[in-house]
Symmetry: C2
Subunit: 324 residues, 2 copies
């Protein structure tokens, strides 16, 4: 079994085409060509933490993947990051373990950012005048980094609950973007036509009143039943609501709240893979409002693990022959 | 993270007290001190295979454990064993990955055999005149190996569906046991007062008519809803029916069949951990018939992974400092 460590993963990431892999994954998932059981969950009280096990495979593929991702929110008091985790890749025909990607949770961040960029690529209006980033963490940074690969706009504005953190975030975004700091979330909402929300908020941050016609919003922060970043009225106002996984979004994330409030019907949801494949229309007019709710699907983990493993095999970069 | 390979695991096994660890695990589990979510399952059609993810933790312990075990039943045609798998050990306070035990499924075999020996230790009659082993695979061999640590009797008889394989099995049991080959399962059932069934059968093998008073039976083979090794009437005839996990045995294994046929009531079941702790009586008279149905509980995986990891830390035997 190959052991691929974080430094090697980061090096490999620059050489692989994550967009093609993850887009293909979403298309297969929406076409019913993936087997993705319900997420396994392990909860801890003292200290508080949660572990999610996402796993599955593409039919007629070479692999199956099991991802373990943890969040222990008091870790920063120990000078440890909250998130950790790893991905395991196995041979679909024999069960043989092929690789452990010791990514420390980083690939979850990356595949989430890539999905955000994919949503923008397929759903954003043609001309984006300003990108609004809600949140100031690693996901906020990665969303901008991957959006830059598919969107020409280099004007951005960031809002965070903590103004100092927003200013720090502004400092870290060097070069590519001309980035402002929003004093209020309304300033961001009313001046951007591509908005990405990346927070663990449990109360709405972005309100429908301020969302302009011709805006696309991607919400990636809410991945549990309790989290919520978008005012549910946004969904009623939207012309097209896209879920990474319809079944998963009916149980967790922003769409789940809008459905519970009967502001949208499950039948009106479109799945991202169907937009990518062209099976579903997505945005049809520039003045429409579109919303993508991304709760994170194992198909993304499968695809990112797979391309990295194959890249490592090509480059023979795995840690040591001892484990091959 | 420590990577502990099979050869090292096998070396470490001789230096650890698996009985104490797994008995303590069962006691804690039955006392409600373990968090064990439902088993995750991934099924494959072409070629047929199944993967089980068992995971959980003991409250106030240092670790949580995730075990991945696969069975791909056409592997022998590729000169590969059907079973494979690994165990992952994490820090319960931070989510930090601590160790990967690349046991290739061996620890699942071992912890199953240890549980069988524990069941015999607590439930078998005082004097055992002959041990009957149903099945001729690795689990049959390991059951004898671990029974020898808790039972004085060295007379044994083996039965297998394939007589040649039973004879081969007889050859592999050297030294410790005087082992015969049964021509019929009835010969085994009627001459033994400790019987262990270790097959993947989906139809009953051991019938109630032949079970003698004063016999203990441990069934370890049936771990899915469809598998069955014991005639359900045995459960009606038994004085004491013990499950490794009452909740799990109500859904899978031999007990599930007996409950479905209303031959026993769920309320009459005793959990192994309660027998070990003395909270439940188990066998009270030598002439009683007792049955233990072991479907395999994550608590066994947690405990075996834990003692091996701690032994590896003591012996500094992990593969390479590179991964620590």
């Amino acid at each position: 079994m190959k052991i691929i460590e974080l430094a090697q993963i980061q090096e490999l990431l620059s050489s692989v085409d994550l967009f093609s892999a993850i887009e293909a994954g979403f298309v297969s998932y929406s076409a019913g060509k993936a087997v993705i059981p319900p997420v396994g969950e392990l909860l801890f009280q003292n200290p508080p933490g949660d572990v999610h096990i996402k796993y599955g495979y593409l039919l007629n593929d070479r692999y199956y993947v099991i991802k373990i991702a943890s969040g222990f929110y008091e870790n920063p008091t120990l000078n440890l990051p909250s998130s950790n985790g790893l991905m395991l890749l196995f041979d679909q025909k024999t069960g043989t373990p092929l690789a452990t990607l010791l990514d420390e949770g980083y690939l979850t961040d990356v595949r989430t950012a890539v999905a955000g960029a994919i949503a923008a690529k397929y759903l954003a209006p043609k001309h984006i005048h300003r990108i609004g980033i809600v949140g100031t963490g690693i996901q906020a940074r990665l969303q901008l980094q991957y959006l830059a690969k598919v969107i020409d706009c280099r004007e951005a504005i960031v809002w965070g609950r903590n103004l100092d953190k927003a200013k720090q975030f502004q400092q870290t975004i060097t070069g590519k973007f001309n980035i402002a700091v929003a004093q209020t979330i309304q300033e961001l909402t009313s001046t951007c036509n591509l908005i990405v929300t990346t927070t663990p908020s449990t109360t709405p941050l972005v309100y429908a009143d301020y969302v302009q016609p011709g805006t696309h919003i991607t919400a990636v922060g809410a991945d549990t039943p309790h989290k919520q970043e978008l005012d549910s009225i946004i969904f009623a106002k939207a012309d097209c609501v896209v879920a990474d996984s319809v079944s998963q979004c009916m149980e967790r994330g922003d769409i789940a709240h809008a459905i519970a409030q009967k502001l949208i019907m499950p039948e009106s949801l479109t799945e991202l893979g169907d937009v990518i494949s062209g099976k579903a229309p997505g945005r049809t007019l520039d003045e429409q409002i579109t919303v993508a709710d991304l709760t994170g699907v194992a198909i993304q983990d499968i695809q990112i693990a797979k391309v990295l493993y194959e890249a490592a095999c090509r480059k023979k970069m795995a840690a040591s022959n001892m484990y091959q």
